[in-house]
């Protein structure tokens, strides 16, 4: 079986997943208990049946369900769900997403970066010094870190930073760069200036640490195990016997080989960030995709929720696909024979 056929098969298998996901989204909102039309009623219209009917007509909710479903799926395919219903009504769904996406990307970028830059080195450090006191400290830290739920950690961090003056003797908010408030969206319009970049970074830093915390712990644990495993491989012993210097041994033989199991871990955690960002953005009041999605879902803004779900589903399926492909690249034994 060729690699191309393997990939083609994986792609074909993802179609029903996408279909099922989007259909469920539609069914939950359209057939579920949330009635978006009621959100359109303004003061004095609450008890007015005519206004309610008009709202339903306007949203197309009075169509037969199947017709609505096919229309909706059709426009979803072409990424054209038109205007939102309730949030920023009248805005194009796609334009609205583009308005909110940068803040989430900024948050995601830092949380992945922090997780990778802290988790991986720490894991390698612990692996190289296995069963020493520093390994125990690092390992314990990794487990505890990983065990803390995002939303709880976020609240704690906010509480601590909010009273940093009393606890640490310095005020986080005015440290280095003055922030207008502890929580809120980063100002991405001044990213090209040094000060603007630092301010935007400082603003998302607590949220990024929280969002990256779970993956950080994961990467640490897996990095440690990988290093430990590679360290005990025969070829490491051989290299050492050959007289390879300790430095070359670590960086060339151990480090590179230990990275292999980490690559799929990092890619698969990318979509954890999407799910996690909903909570973290709510806690830190960052107006990103997560918060937008949460608001759209609870109010039943079908076009917006649908498009976001569609994007999320495509993203997750895409990442999975990429991961499958990466496996076959990194380790040719994977997938091909069995598939």
């Amino acid at each position: 079986m060729s690699r191309l056929r393997y990939i083609a098969k994986r792609v074909a298998l993802s179609v029903p997943v996408v279909w099922l996901g989007t259909t469920m989204t539609w069914a939950i909102i359209y057939l579920g208990p949330i009635d978006p039309a009621t959100r359109l009623l303004s003061e004095g219209q609450t008890q007015n049946p005519a206004a309610y009917e008009a709202a339903r007509t306007q949203l197309g909710l009075d169509q037969p369900p199947l017709q609505h479903y096919f229309d909706w799926m059709g426009s979803l395919l072409t990424f054209d769900l038109g205007q939102t219903w309730l949030l920023y009504q009248g805005s194009d769904v796609n334009a609205l997403i583009l308005d909110f996406l940068p803040r989430t990307l900024w948050l995601g970028f830092w949380s992945v970066l922090i997780a990778v830059c802290i988790g991986v080195p720490l894991g390698f450090y612990a692996g190289m010094r296995s069963n020493t006191a520093s390994d125990y400290v690092a390992s314990m830290g990794g487990i505890v870190w990983r065990a803390m739920p995002n939303f709880w950690l976020g609240i704690m961090l906010l509480a601590v930073l909010g009273s940093s003056q009393a606890i640490f003797g310095f005020d986080w908010q005015s440290l280095w760069i003055e922030l207008d408030a502890l929580t809120g969206s980063p100002d991405l319009s001044r990213l090209h200036t040094v000060e603007g970049f630092l301010a935007a970074t400082k603003k998302v830093l607590p949220a990024a640490i929280v969002l990256g915390s779970a993956s950080m712990g994961n990467e640490m644990r897996i990095g440690r195990t990988a290093v430990l495993e590679v360290r005990n491989e025969d070829y490491v012993d051989l290299a050492r016997a050959k007289g390879v210097s300790e430095r070359a041994l670590v960086w060339k033989h151990i480090f590179r080989n230990a990275l292999i199991p980490l690559v799929p871990i990092i890619t698969s955690e990318a979509f954890l960030l999407i799910g996690g960002s909903v909570l973290v953005e709510t806690v830190f009041s960052i107006n990103g995709i997560g918060l937008l999605f949460f608001n759209a879902a609870t109010q039943g803004d079908l076009p917006l929720v649908g498009t976001l779900m569609y994007v999320f589903i495509l993203l997750i399926v895409g990442v999975n696909l990429l991961q499958d492909v990466l496996y076959t690249v990194i380790d040719p034994r994977v997938g091909l024979e069995g598939a």
Binding site: S42, Q47, A50, T57, F100, I155, M156, L182, T282, L291
Partner: protein
């Protein structure tokens, strides 16, 4: 939400962890109630606790706002749209960047001319003619002409983007037009979307004369067109209505597509920057038609949590705070009222640290009430509820004084009057207290179920007469709005009292949107609701209570198989049909009709009012602003900010 299901636990946790703790709860529970139509006004302390994002942070905010001459405001929810016909109600910013033909000076009723010199009404009360002021500029520099007004009205009636068609071609004020039932489904029924494009009876007679003709006379026409949905835009700005090509794409004019928003209105401030979800920045418009503006700009920042808004204001990071004041943070004992004019009270508020700010309050055109489904709940049970309820105690303890006890569906400011020199609020109070100007036997002695008191003996006896007793109890389920603990407390208070009147009530929660659709389907027994008025006319609420069309009303009063009294219904219908509806009805006869319907609602207890909430405003010492009137819509063209 599973984390801390009980209020007490939650509160205890908060004191330990700081208010930041509550943020996650908000994420799970209250969510985006920015502008739910009914009731998210006063909630008691425990709920507001669940809404917060990190007060500690704001406590250390350094003030940056008082430096510039820009007024810093906050809004509980994001500015959703700049399009007047698409907006739901009108927000704080609306009166700053937009203007209609008339406005409410300082938010006071009645409306006065804004961009008009004069107007006249034809003898039959149908045709209104307006003389526009000359030389009035839009933000884009073009001059206001009658064609712009016609365009704005046509968009409201006919644009696919309009969500306020009901305001112009609906049931209340109706500008003459044609409808073709076959245009949209259902094909055999005329709905708002069946409007025939171009058929609206509006006319730009010449450049400065605008005219429209109503289908039938309507008393509050001028109030209606003074509302935010009738804001005027330059003709042809967007092409979403027949006969106009549109200079801009919709999202370019009203939203942030391209170089947008290209929005141009008539208000004293123009839209500078709209950062969705975060802030709307307005700057002074130099060619404003009126006097002012004195400020350089107005910035409206979104701060979702009521408690955070409160602490931001306290720290001087906002110049003015109104709308949805945190009941948890608000301490009624810190208010000192210095001056009362009409229903408006102005004074000061002193924070715990001793700083003093200005404070004003005015009863809003709003009523909170509970609705009975008369298909399910018999009259004696409804009356037992009324006897058991003590509005006075609810206003004091649940609403912490930010609401006044309500005995009528019509709020005091809109209550009909009968004698010169006796105003709306006074008529309201006296009618409830001792039956002043009552028109039926039932209202002769005032509110029959205990004015400011609980009458449990009466509740018991009305139930006993109906055959209920210790061994034959009545079971009922009450539905409250999720995230609004005020209703929760109202029902909890009733629950224990009703137990001794042989009524076992269980309480369930439901989302606001779900409550409305369940009310439409009639599958609840009793539930809490609240509603506001767009103009001070009792018909806003009373049109749903006089027994007409019972099949589609929330109360189902008078529907086949419902528990209703034919005599009461006939009295209400006679009054409405003979005294309110006829074209030759007078203000006096209409007021009698309103009074009759109110008293028949007392008799039938379809809806049981609880409180009329009060609108509050806080502003810093250095801000010079008048307390707004009952309409709330105030333009800040005369507001100044000193040191």
């Amino acid at each position: 939400m599973d984390v801390m299901p009980e209020d007490t636990t939650r509160r205890g946790f908060l004191t330990v962890a700081g208010a930041g703790a509550a943020t996650a709860l908000a994420g799970c529970s209250s969510g985006p109630s920015e502008e739910s139509t009914a009731t998210d006004e006063p909630t008691d302390s425990t709920d507001d606790g669940g809404d917060e994002s990190a007060e500690p942070s704001d406590a250390s905010d350094d003030s940056t706002s008082s430096v510039s001459n820009t007024l810093q405001m906050m809004s509980p929810g994001p500015v959703q749209t700049l399009d007047p016909i698409n907006a739901k109600g009108s927000g704080v910013g609306f009166n700053q960047y937009g203007s209609s033909l008339l406005d409410f000076p300082n938010g006071e009723y009645p409306p006065e001319g804004a961009v008009i010199e004069d107007y006249s009404m034809s003898d039959d009360g149908l045709t209104y003619t307006f003389q526009l002021k000359q030389g009035v500029s839009f933000h884009d520099g073009t001059e206001l002409t009658a064609e712009d007004v016609a365009y704005s009205f046509r968009r409201l009636a006919g644009s696919e983007n309009s969500r306020n068609r009901d305001d112009i071609i609906g049931e209340t004020m109706t500008i003459d037009h044609e409808k073709d039932a076959s245009r949209t489904e259902p094909a055999d029924e005329e709905t708002l979307t069946d409007y025939v494009p171009g058929s609206l009876a509006v006319d730009a007679v010449d450049d400065y004369t605008f005219e429209f003709t109503l289908a039938s006379p309507f008393q509050y026409t001028l109030s209606q067109i003074a509302g935010g949905t009738f804001a005027i835009l330059p003709a042809g700005s967007v092409g979403d209505v027949d006969g106009y090509d549109g200079e801009y794409e919709y999202n370019e004019f009203f939203s942030t597509a391209g170089d947008g928003p290209a929005y141009a209105g008539l208000g004293p401030f123009e839209v500078d920057e709209w950062n969705k979800g975060d802030a709307l920045r307005l700057t002074a418009f130099d060619d404003y038609y009126g006097e002012g503006p004195e400020l350089d700009g107005v910035t409206i920042t979104v701060v979702e949590s009521a408690n955070t808004r409160f602490s931001r204001f306290q720290n001087g990071n906002a110049d003015l705070m109104q709308e949805d004041i945190s009941t948890a943070a608000f301490n009624p004992d810190s208010v000192s009222i210095e001056e009362t004019s009409g229903s408006r009270s102005v004074g000061t508020y002193t924070f715990d640290d001793g700083t003093t700010v200005n404070y004003g309050e005015i009863p809003a055109l709003r009523t909170e009430y509970i609705v009975f489904n008369c298909l399910e709940v018999p009259l004696p049970v409804r009356r037992a509820f009324a006897y058991a309820m003590n509005q006075d105690e609810i206003a004091k303890n649940v609403y912490k004084g930010t609401g006044q006890p309500a005995y009528h569906m019509t709020p005091p400011a809109a209550y009909p009057t009968f004698e010169d020199g006796v105003g709306s609020a006074e008529t309201y109070d006296r009618h409830a207290e001792n039956g002043y100007q009552s028109v039926t036997e039932f209202g002769a002695d005032g509110y029959p179920y205990g004015y400011g008191e609980t009458l449990l003996d009466e509740a018991r006896s009305v139930m006993e007469q109906a055959g209920y007793g210790e061994n034959d109890r009545y079971e009922i389920t009450a539905t409250t709005i999720a995230g609004d603990s005020a209703y929760g407390s109202v029902f909890t208070r009733l629950q224990s009292k009703l137990r001794s009147a042989y009524i076992d009530m269980s309480i369930e929660e439901s989302q606001f949107g779900t409550i409305i659709s369940r009310a439409i389907n009639g599958d609840m027994e009793v539930f809490g609701l609240g509603d506001g008025m767009e103009y001070p006319g009792p018909q806003n609420f009373l049109r749903f209570l006089w027994g007409n069309n019972p099949g589609s009303q929330f109360t189902r009063w008078g529907a086949e198989g419902s528990f209703y009294t034919e005599e009461y219904r006939q009295t209400a219908m006679d009054a409405w049909e003979n005294k309110y509806q006829p074209d030759d009805s007078t203000q006096q006869s209409r007021n009698e009709a309103f009074q009759t319907v109110e008293e028949m609602n007392w008799a039938s207890v379809q809806e049981l009012p609880t409180v009329n909430p009060v609108a509050q405003r806080f502003w810093q010492e250095y801000v010079d602003v008048e307390m707004h009137g009952v309409m709330g819509n105030q333009t800040f063209d005369q507001v100044t900010k000193g040191e």
